[in-house]
């Protein structure tokens, strides 16, 4: 992102609160306008006007306000909204959370500058997503199928291998997708170890030249995180709808993003919503997630896979809760399975892909896919019930049938879910499912044809 040169300068900072500064006697500023904040020692920071009241402007400072003083620092509105310069030269590059190169290479020469907030997609212009993406992961392909243009998050817990799973999906989806596949990584508040891991894995997968990474690390400015996903998605829309790419956007960790949102909210002394996150967090997240999709008459697509960490593994926490209310399903990871050494530890019962119906069946995956998936669900749910029962009444209280379901649940977790690094075709996945279902009695599996 570049910021153009400036004419107006205000040395009228009246107060400073958290990441916000209040600037007086500012005239002509507009909502969302970017500013340069210049410190006494000549250091330049980036600010954005969040609110205007008379001649007072509230400006959020991306790099934080530490070191800013109200006498010697000045604010210079640029007349520009937040924009990112885009071009296909971005492929293979690593940039910071604000879109500036951090790979030691010179800045790109943009074809155009785009507003990072984008515009809402017209619902009447959306093309229905219906193209199956083979991720090679049975728990996803078989039970919670991903389609192009979908937004499907991974709900993880601290220490669970969500990033590994996301990378495996990117790696394997790349193989089955066509040559016009692109990956955009928007990382917020990740550790340098994770950052390193991402880059290395993408490189090993030979996907680096198809990848653009925006990385904001833990030590980077927190307010910058509010810009990172917007920049990533703006570039994704550009590649998808101007150049016909099928773009997979991985955003991680949305929990860090939401924490930055909360920080701004409390600095503005807003009335907080649940667990002190802002009341508008649903809308704010929606303006990110809803940017996934396809457009009528356009070749490309934006598929979005946000990763978030559920605080305390609590799926009712506002971050996973609001996400689940916006996205088209969710892949949930389980600590219990992880402890059992099952990878990927996908907790299939609470998982869902709402667009599955559009991407499966004859000509897409295979006839009878839905039936297999429904039966696996029902048998596994029953097996889990029995497992719970065993802890109360012991194995003795079980009927023979119950025992079969119990055994099924174990096998299912071990073989179907716990595939490890394997890359399975959809046929392998469905055949395995059918194979496992043989152990549960025909007359019980009522939905079997």
């Amino acid at each position: 992102m570049t910021i153009d040169l400036i004419k107006r300068e205000y040395r009228t900072i009246s107060s400073i609160s958290g990441p916000l500064i209040f600037v007086e006697k500012l005239s002509g500023g507009s909502l969302g306008e970017m500013c340069v904040v210049e410190l006494a020692d000549g250091e330049k920071r980036t600010g954005q006007i969040l609110q205007l009241m008379g001649t007072t402007a509230i400006v959020q400072v991306l790099q934080g306000t530490s070191g800013i003083d109200s006498d010697a620092s000045s604010v210079l509105p640029t007349g520009e909204t937040a924009r990112i310069g885009v071009s296909k030269e971005l492929f293979g590059r690593v940039l910071n959370g604000f879109g500036e190169p951090i790979d030691g290479l010179p800045p790109i020469i943009p074809d155009e500058y785009l507003d990072i907030n984008g515009l809402p997609m017209n619902p009447a212009a959306r093309e229905k997503p219906d193209f199956f993406v083979q991720t090679g992961i049975s728990a996803i392909d078989g039970l919670n199928t991903l389609v192009r243009g979908q937004k499907l998050p991974i709900f993880s817990g601290a220490g669970l291998p969500a990033k590994e799973l996301a990378l495996q999906i990117v790696r394997q989806a790349k193989v089955s997708e066509a040559a016009d596949f692109a990956v955009i990584l928007g990382a917020m508040g990740i550790t340098s170890r994770e950052g390193f891991f991402f880059r290395k894995s993408l490189q090993e997968a030979g996907a680096l030249e198809r990848t653009i990474a925006f990385i904001n690390e833990v030590s980077d400015p927190t307010i910058e995180r509010l810009f990172t996903p917007r920049i990533a998605l703006t570039v994704a829309e550009y590649l998808a709808f101007e150049h016909g790419y099928h773009v997979m956007v991985v955003l991680t960790d949305m929990t860090s993003y939401c924490e930055s949102l909360r920080e701004i909210g409390s600095a503005r002394e807003e009335i907080p919503g649940r667990r002190s996150y802002p009341g508008y967090m649903y809308t704010d997240l929606a303006t990110l997630y809803e940017r996934a999709g396809r457009l009528k008459g356009k070749k490309g697509s934006v598929t979005l896979m946000p990763i978030l960490t559920m605080p305390d593994d609590d799926i009712t926490h506002p971050i996973p809760d609001l996400t689940g209310y916006i996205t088209e399903g969710q892949i949930v990871l389980s600590r219990a399975l992880h402890r059992k050494g099952i990878y990927p530890p996908v907790d299939v019962l609470p998982c869902l892909s709402r667009l599955m119906g559009l991407g499966i069946g004859e000509g897409k995956t295979r006839d009878g896919h839905r039936t297999i998936s429904d039966q696996l669900y029902s048998a596994y749910a029953r097996g889990m019930d029995v497992r719970r029962l065993v802890t109360i009444v012991g194995e003795e209280g079980l009927s023979d049938l119950d025992r079969k379901y119990l055994a099924f649940a174990d096998e299912f977790e071990r073989k179907f879910v716990g595939q490890g690094e394997a890359d399975r075709s959809i046929d392998e996945t469905l055949d395995l499912g059918l194979e496992l279902l043989k152990s549960v009695p025909e007359r019980e599996a009522v939905r079997r044809k």
Binding site: S27, G28, S30, L31, Q51, L52, M53, G54, T55, T81, L119, P120, M121, N122, P123, A124, A125, R126, K128, P129, G149, Q150, E270, I271, P272, G273, R274, G279, Y280, Y282, T283, A286, T287, E290, G293, L295, K296, T316, H317, P318, D321, L322, G324, I326, G329, L349, P350, L352, R354, R370, Y377, A381, I392, V393, E396, G397, L398, S399, R443, V446
Partner: protein, 584 residues
């Protein structure tokens, strides 16, 4: 209409503060700033006027001009609504797409309805007739499915001095009354003002959804309200969409309020191809879509449900039965909260404004079965079915609680059922219908004499299932008495064969009452025969191994047509099978 101007003093999120307006009027609309964005006056405090702006406010500067013409936020009502797709303030999204492509650019404006399109008008009144509000002066065949009735707008009356026939556009008058008053094809109506009717009528007929669990166990009356609360992914949207597809209503107004764009793209691409079960014509011909997805401006989201219900009332006034589907009312409430917090109002529970319940009540009360205005005594209805999205799936939150006060039926969705793919994931224990008693007569006379009785038996069976499941949790299935095991298995059969209904199955997605009754009756025939057999000394295993149970479960795969014959055959087979079962 008086014009007044002011200057922008402040901008915060979707609200704009204005100074210097002379005589501003509450709830009237304004054009805001250089781009002429649409806004509505929502507070007047001394010289400061607050607007909620229906488009994204970024880029707005202090000092830009605001103009008000003193008109309340209104919708245009007339031919061309059906098959249409509009945003929360009735901007036509298809036209916007044609003009602007994939994304909605700011400040883009189009008339809601195509004013130049010609409609074939057939007069029903003639020169010299005296007409009053609500009288139908003529009709237009709006779609192959629906006749659009051109009514005398509320507040107008007089003797007809001229009435046209044949091709007319929305720009002209179709009928002239004395003193130069004229009536056109289009009329404007303020969205926040309920449209008038002659009288409200008590509920007496069910609103047929085609979903077994609703129609049989938890019916909603025509003109009633049902709310569908449930955590994410529990099936609210599928319920709303199934009703939009299959319900026996004349008109469907579908309001996508703060939800997903892809869901709307599904409706838009499917509805023109799907046939409505009553007429066999494409569903889109009876449907109006209002959609303000979660990423579209919140103030327009707030307006969307009022836009929707006003359109619904308008078709009601023609004498139609209208389904108004709102997905989700919680997103509307959140929009209200967001705007209220920008106004720095004193918040009530969970940050919602204290007037949340009042506002919700005003909305729900616009449902109802009515005798319409007009001298022909026609009746019409608006049935409201709204999804509620409680945070964390916790029903104790304010929007669910406030909605409960106005709901006649509660269809509570349960994540546990959804996880095991039991759909519709209705937790019948937590749900209710207040219309049952009022509809009993209808059930007895229109469905079957024992329909009400069977429903009662189903209820007790399901209650017993819960008790038995609790017992099993302590002692295990093996320790259960044989009679109880049988009851449990019959309850499980009822769950599989009756309560579960896949929205994706072509034959089963919609059930007539004939089919619902047929399945229910077969289940209880099975129960009676099985109990008799058990008493007679047949092994429970023998009963349960009999394939007839599987056949009952698969009854839902039979089409609606001729179902009662199928059911009779089934019941005969059940009885035959059981008389043949051998005793121990």
């Amino acid at each position: 209409m008086k014009e007044t101007r002011g200057k922008i003093y402040g901008v915060a999120g979707p609200t704009v503060l204005v100074k210097g307006m002379a005589g501003p009027v509450m709830n009237t609309v304004c054009l805001v700033g250089k781009q002429g964005l649409l806004g509505e006056i929502i507070r007047i405090k001394g010289e400061l006027v607050t607007l909620q702006v229906y488009e994204d406010t970024s880029g707005i500067s202090v000092g830009e001009e605001v103009i008000s013409y003193g008109i309340p936020l209104s919708v245009t009502l007339g031919p061309g609504l059906l098959t249409g797709i509009f945003d929360g303030i009735q901007r036509p999204l298809e036209k916007i797409r044609q003009a602007a492509g994939g994304f909605i650019t700011r400040g883009i404006k189009f008339e809601a309805l195509d004013i130049d399109r010609l409609w074939e008008f057939t007069p029903l009144k003639k020169k010299g007739d005296f007409v009053e509000p609500g009288d139908i002066i003529g009709t237009v065949q709006e779609t192959e499915r629906i006749v659009h009735k051109i009514m005398v707008p509320p507040g107008q009356s007089g003797t007809i001095t001229e009435i046209k026939t044949g091709k007319v556009s929305g720009a002209e008058y179709v009928c002239m009354l004395e003193k130069g008053k004229f009536i056109g094809l289009f009329q404007e109506w303020p969205v926040r003002k309920p449209r008038p009717f002659a009288a409200k009528l008590p509920p007496s007929t069910p609103f047929i959804t085609g979903q077994r669990v609703f129609d049989t166990l938890l019916p909603v009356a025509e003109g009633g309200t049902a709310i569908v609360p449930g955590g994410f992914g529990t099936g609210k949207t599928v319920v709303e969409q199934s009703i939009a597809k299959f319900s026996r209503s004349d008109i469907v107004v579908y309001v996508g309020c703060g939800e997903r764009g892809n869901e709307m793209s599904e409706i838009l691409s499917d509805f023109p191809a799907l046939k409505d079960p009553t007429s066999g014509l494409p569903l889109s011909l009876r449907t109006v879509i209002v959609v303000n997805t979660s990423n579209m401006p919140v103030a327009a989201r707030e307006a969307s449900i009022f836009t929707g219900i006003t359109i619904a009332e308008y078709f009601r006034d023609m004498g139609y039965s209208v389904a108004m589907l709102a997905d989700s009312i919680s997103r509307w409430a959140e929009a209200l909260r967001e705007i209220s917090s920008r106004l720095e109002e004193m918040p009530g529970e969970e940050g919602f404004p204290p007037y949340l319940a009042t506002q919700l009540g005003i909305f729900y009360e616009r449902s109802g079965k009515v005798r319409c205005l007009g001298t022909d005594n026609r009746t019409g209805s608006v049935t409201v079915i709204s999804a509620v999205s409680p945070p964390g799936g916790d029903f104790s939150e304010p929007v669910t609680q406030a909605s409960l006060r106005f709901a006649g039926s509660l269809w509570a969705l349960d994540p546990d059922l959804a996880y095991r793919r039991h759909f519709p994931a209705v937790n019948w224990l937590a749900s209710f219908s207040l219309y049952q008693a009022e509809l009993n007569d209808w059930f007895v006379s229109e469905v079957a004499e024992d329909m009400v009785k069977l429903r009662g038996r189903l209820y007790s069976l399901l209650r017993r299932q819960t008790e038995l499941r609790d017992i099993i949790q302590i002692i295990g299935v093996e320790a259960l008495q044989e009679a109880d095991r049988l009851t449990l298995e019959v309850a499980n059969l009822a769950t599989e064969a009756f309560l579960k209904q896949s929205a994706f199955s072509e034959v089963d997605a919609f059930n007539t009452y004939e089919k619902q009754y047929g399945i229910l009756k077969s289940i209880f025939t099975f129960m009676e025969s099985a109990e008799a057999a058990l008493k007679r000394g047949v092994y429970i295993e023998t009963i349960l191994e009999n394939p007839i149970r599987g056949r009952i479960t698969r009854m839902k795969e039979f089409p609606n047509e001729g179902f009662s014959k199928k059911a009779e055959e089934m019941m005969r087979d059940i009885e035959n099978e059981f008389t043949m079962l051998e005793e121990k």
